[in-house]
Symmetry: none
Subunit: 217 residues, 2 copies
DNA sequence: CCTTGACATGCGAATGATTATCAAATACAT
DNA sequence: ATGTATTTGATAATCATTCGCATGTCAAGG
């Protein structure tokens, strides 16, 4: 009573496109590439087929911890590393399979059917001196606030404040600079710590004299 | 310049409640338990605090492949198994740490900072002859539809529909039966295929005469 | 006591990834 | 060629999680 698969054009292209990827694309990345060949394809179709193809074992679905699923044309059993900064995923050769910490089949009453090993760290790109760093929350900002200068982003935010006649919120700055408001509010917090902006009213901020002088450096 | 944490009542209760859990609850499960002590607490507060507590190392955040995050009061380094059927998560003692397949630090140019090992399989409960089975997609349902009868779960759902005056959605049934709504909607799909429920409007279902007669067997 | 300001909370709305729904199109066994 | 089960595209729904914001709390200092 297995339902049989049809080889539709879209299914073929999806498989083909994944196979010519050396990387481990997400459904969405694949969708973007496939749209060039099949402009009318739906994202749902991509998801559907990746699911089906992995069910029948033509491709592998990678479930990297807590993030987007990725897909692999390589159905051989192998492990992966992912970069905690840019989320890139690569294959990684593990020492030997005989070395796997697999305990006797029955553990805690579980009937174990598999094991996933994930390494994580920084990819070659992200090891380089921080450039387009992802936000890491307050910790990062604390570091930055130790330095005397202003990051490009902070300067941008501060300049937006300088242009404003009255105290304004993070949303206004976001609109003025085109930055994400999340990022903006982080920057505001940092600027506030440095004393370059102050908050006359809750959730509203304005540039301080210190901030103004900072800008003119 | 680290921001200092306050031990608020809700934070205390959240930590306390997690610590008295032998399991690895999700934020939502914890929220449900905590609501009994703090009925006015917000789910966002639970999330926020679990995040903060794990950041400062008082608890551990588990990122089990592709599903809900779970939390662990135990900050010792240890591995986990999860059941592919019911998604329960348990600790699992691995043979010896010396046996980990950790290759030399530099692999593929990655600077590896960690490794996660996840075992999966069937928990003791789910090894028993299928009872409260999780959805497995159409394949499973096709099988079920070959059988003449109704599973316990399906009967439960169908009974809930029988009690309803008007067409209702999976959420309503979930509420009425106390089942997960995801599970419910799978059951509805199966029931629809069997012709025991029909969909007068998108996303709303009602019991059919066939369904009613099925119930009276 | 009465302010302040940093930190926290509750609420609701937003987000992002994925899945479900359903009418219309299509593949493919007969 | 035809009937029908499968598949598609478009879109709405779902689910877990996070964000924005007004409000609340509390320790420290007038
Ligand atoms: Mn791979
Ligand atoms: Mn544990
Ligand atoms: Zn990277
Ligand atoms: Zn189980």
């Amino acid at each position: 009573m297995e339902k049989k698969l049809r080889m539709t054009h879209q299914r073929e292209i999806i498989l083909d496109e994944l196979r010519r990827c050396r990387s481990h694309p997400t459904a969405d990345e694949l969708y973007e590439r496939i749209k060039k060949k099949l402009p009318r394809i739906s994202l749902a179709t991509v998801y559907r087929n990746l699911e089906i193809l992995s069910e029948v074992g033509l491709i592998t679905k990678l479930e990297i911890s807590g993030r987007q699923k990725r897909f692999d044309w390589d159905v051989q059993d192998h492990d992966h590393v992912y970069c905690t900064e840019c989320h890139r995923v690569d294959n990684i050769p593990t020492a030997t399979t005989t070395c796997l910490p697999v305990d006797p089949d029955q553990q805690k009453g579980y009937q174990i059917t598999g094991c996933r090993i994930e390494f994580y760290g920084l990819c070659p790109n992200c090891q380089k001196p921080r450039k387009v760093q992802k936000f890491k929350g307050d910790k990062d900002m604390a570091c930055k606030s130790c330095t005397t200068g202003l990051s490009d982003t902070q300067r941008q935010v501060l300049e937006a404040f300088a242009k404003s006649e009255e105290a304004c919120g993070s949303k206004d700055i976001a609109a003025a600079t085109g930055m994400e408001s999340k990022k903006v509010s982080c920057q505001i917090t940092a600027l506030k710590k440095k004393g370059f902006v102050s908050s006359p009213v809750r959730c509203k901020y304005e540039i301080t004299d210190e901030g103004k002088s900072q800008l003119s450096c």
